[in-house]
């Protein structure tokens, strides 16, 4: 059953906006995810469609379980995450492959080749193979929407969760998208007992394993005639097999060549591949990251070029593909010029800055985690020594404590953001207490999920839909876990924070310090009237203490000896610090560092 959508206007949509529209048009009823670049805006946009229930879950495992539950109850369900999030959700993923679905179930996973905003560069296609699930891979926003709707049809037709692989250059690329038909749900929501299919006891699971084998064969057969696995025959000297954005890059580089564009990357259409390979002189497999298609084509006994030419590291582009195959660079490009770098930085007035200034001062080993505060690793703060994955900081600090024993006391701390703590830090804190560690855990509570763009989390007091919600009381939670020493500080207060940290780090028992101050980018903080600080230039001795904060609102103005003399300063003073009053929000951190009273509280703005 379909309903004609009358609004046929052309939309200029990002891949993430297109996926949200696709979910709406597919009549998805329940969507759950965890923010992660480049996947975040799918749910943010979907939450604006009032007919769909959307939520931020504490982590990706919970999000997928919610979607599985909704599917079991007979509605179409969506779960969204970035590539590393799928690692967290892998446990339910592998068994949902066994149970299959009632309402269509799709997991959108967004990879990040070149790691624009990620800690690793993994290829999610491997999950499709390992979990024995079909995976679709769109190339641009328009396909993203169409493939998502196709994924729901496949999910229900073949009784399987379906993976849809996005990436940075689909998620954050904008292109023309047209509205399509809204598909009416075919199932009536409700609960149906079916233990042989839904209760994965070993005896039941063995039966389901056989059903999966049959499903895989059926899907492979289906893929042979699927319109999204498309032949584009041109000049037959070169033939390219590619999916997703890799297809776009190869097409751009070799518009005259022949192509087999793969829409469903798992399972692959073997007959179609054999047929295509037999029609071209030289076969090239173009894919970013792992040789996923190449290995399977080679296993079919078909000769082809792949990773012998195409880089396995970083995202591809038309020029990378062209150069790999012809050895020619295309347009001659200029070499880069050596310039001062412009790395990302914490915002002016960021509460994290005060904490990392103190951690640098305390010379402790900082077990870090994932968020804006990972920028605390960069100079001048230089106060983060490990960062592995979401929630890892607490377990790693505990492991260090157990390795070092009494020798390690007072030498290491864990830092973790509020959202990351809820994501997967709580379990580790339970372990720290249960197994009698002494490590100090610092929860950087800025009331929001910052890095991905201020999404509310279970400690923020609101939902993605904008409704008020319970806000976790961190001190109470930590006490309930068994932490006896829980302290809350304002990280803008440098000296008070230092004193508390010093005391807790030395303590031979688990302790938690909560640095609590809202992110400057939250709507409430943006609205709050600010008083910027001003420099009293005549009093500045150029001691550079305030510069150690690395605040973007403080600039160093260099002085020649003559200029210094002209300003009535000592000739040897090399410059002075100047606060940019349009950027400063008056957090006060620099004020407490200045021993020369060269900073004053300015006027309101």
């Amino acid at each position: 059953m379909t309903q004609k959508n009358t609004d046929a206007e052309k939309l200029w949509f990002s891949g993430n906006e297109a996926l949200a529209l696709g979910a709406f048009e597919a009549s998805v009823q329940v969507a759950s995810g965890y923010p992660g670049t480049p996947s975040t805006e799918i749910l943010e946009n979907l939450s604006t469609y009032k007919s769909v229930y959307s939520e931020w879950a504490p982590n990706e495992k919970v999000a997928l379980e919610v979607a599985i539950g909704a599917s079991f109850a007979g509605v179409r369900a969506l779960s969204t995450m970035k590539h590393v999030g799928l690692n967290v959700a892998a446990d339910p993923l592998f068994t949902a492959s066994y149970t299959g679905v009632r309402g269509g179930l799709v997991i959108v996973v967004a990879d990040d080749p070149s790691m624009y905003s990620s800690q690793n560069e993994q290829d999610s296609r491997n999950y499709a193979y390992a979990a024995k699930l079909p995976m679709l891979e769109p190339a641009d926003p328009s396909e993203a929407k169409d493939f998502l709707k196709l994924a729901y049809r496949l999910s229900e037709q073949f009784d399987t969760p379906v993976l849809l692989r996005s990436c940075t250059r689909v998620a954050h690329v904008k292109g023309v998208v047209t509205r399509g038909e809204i598909e009416k749900p075919t199932l009536t929501p409700g609960l149906e007992k079916n233990p042989a299919k839904l209760v994965m006891l070993p005896a039941h699971a063995r039966g389901r394993r056989i059903a999966i084998g049959e499903r895989q064969r059926n899907l492979a057969e289906f893929g042979e005639t699927l319109a999204e696995n498309r032949l584009e025959m041109g000049d037959r000297k070169k033939g390219f097999i590619a999916a997703g954005t890799s297809y776009l890059y190869a097409k751009e580089a070799f518009p005259e060549a022949s192509f087999l564009k793969i829409g469903m990357v798992n399972p692959l259409p073997e007959k179609l591949i054999r047929d295509f390979a037999s029609q071209v002189d030289t076969l090239y497999i173009i894919e970013d990251l792992d040789p996923f298609i190449e290995m399977r084509v080679k296993a079919m006994g078909i000769a082809c070029h792949g990773k012998d030419l195409i880089p396995a590291i970083g995202e591809l582009s038309a020029s990378v593909v062209r150069k790999a195959i012809t050895g020619e660079a295309g347009t001659a490009a200029f070499a880069p010029v050596d310039l001062p770098p412009r790395p990302p930085n914490m915002c002016a007035g960021c509460p994290h800055r005060g904490l990392f200034y103190n951690l640098n001062r305390l010379k402790v080993f900082v077990s870090g985690d994932i968020g804006c505060y990972t920028l605390g690793a960069l100079p001048p703060l230089s106060a983060m020594d490990t960062c592995v994955c979401m929630g890892a900081s607490i377990g790693i600090a505990h492991g260090m404590a157990k390795a070092l024993g009494a020798e390690g006391l007072g030498k290491a701390v864990a830092v973790i953001g509020d959202s990351t703590f809820i994501h997967s830090g709580i379990n580790s804190l339970i372990n720290t207490v249960y197994n009698k560690s002494y490590s100090t855990v610092i929860i950087l509570d800025n009331r929001i999920t910052g890095m991905t763009g201020q999404q509310p989390n279970p400690a923020s007091g609101s939902t993605i839909m904008g409704e008020p919600a319970n806000a976790i009381d961190f001190p109470e939670l930590c006490r309930a876990i068994g932490v006896k020493h829980v302290r809350t500080v304002n990280p803008h207060d440098i000296e008070a924070t230092y004193a508390v940290l010093q005391e807790e780090i030395e303590r031979d028992e688990p302790s938690v310090v909560i640095t609590r101050f809202p992110c400057v980018l939250t709507p409430a903080e943006k609205k709050r009237p600010k008083i910027s600080f001003t420099s009293i230039t005549e009093k500045c001795t150029g001691c550079t203490m305030c510069l150690r904060l690395g605040c973007p609102a403080i600039n160093w103005v260099p002085l020649s000896p003559e200029e210094a003399k002209g300003m009535g300063k000592k000739e040897k003073q090399k410059g002075y610090a100047l606060i940019n009053e349009t950027t400063c929000i008056g957090c006060g951190q620099c004020l407490s560092l200045c021993k020369f009273e060269a900073i004053s509280c300015g006027e309101g703005k």
């Binding site: 975040t40 624009y116 250059r169 954050h172 690329v173 954005t245 097409k251 915002c347």
Partner: protein, 193 residues
């Protein structure tokens, strides 16, 4: 101009993405296909920001501009124009806002802002159009109008007529700031050619 590659660059917070959006909508209104690529997340925090916008009378495949393939660059900050030199060629036109924003190493006195950095472009025969967009923004009375002033300059180098641009700006900007931005756009056009 049947196809083209426009590169937008500058520092996070300068309104680069809005400028690229207005340009994309003007191209679409004139009947071109287009694709635009942006980077979000970690890369966005006060760092160097860029957007690639490709357009054509036929379907645009890759969302990324290849090295050396930029036709027009709209740079919101001088050093950022030079940072993306590998995307330019001797026939590129670079519209550059003559504003300097100190990156952390300069702000903390560890490095100095390169003097005369635009010479890196002109010495390679690249056409450079310097614009004091900050002065235009000040003149029209809203310092945030820098981006639309620069779009005004850019409009001189693209095949859409003035009415198409004005229509897009009217449709895309909130009423509260529309008048001042239309002025900034006109002042930018005057500065353009």
């Amino acid at each position: 101009m049947n196809q083209g590659n426009i590169h937008f660059c500058g520092v996070g917070g300068q309104g680069i993405l809005l400028a690229s959006e207005l340009t994309a909508h003007a191209l679409l209104a004139a009947g071109f296909d287009a694709k635009k690529s942006e980077v979000h997340g970690m890369a966005q925090r006060g760092g160097s920001v860029e957007a690639h916008l490709r357009f054509g009378t036929t379907k645009v495949y890759s969302p990324l501009i290849e090295p050396g393939a930029v036709d027009i660059m709209l740079a919101f900050e001088m050093m950022e124009a030079v940072r993306y030199l590998p995307l330019l060629n001797a026939k590129s036109t670079v519209i550059v806002n003559t504003q300097k924003i100190a990156p952390p190493a300069v702000a903390t006195g560890k490095m100095t802002y390169p003097d005369e950095c635009l010479n890196e472009l002109t010495s390679r025969a690249i056409t450079v159009i310097p614009v004091d967009a900050f002065a235009i923004a000040r003149k029209v009375g809203n310092l945030k109008a820098v981006n639309v002033a620069l779009v005004g300059v850019l409009s001189r180098y693209l095949p859409m007529d003035e009415a198409t641009w004005v229509e897009v700006i009217k449709k895309r900007l909130p009423a509260k700031i529309l008048e001042v931005n239309l002025q900034a756009f006109q002042e930018g056009r005057k500065a353009g050619k």
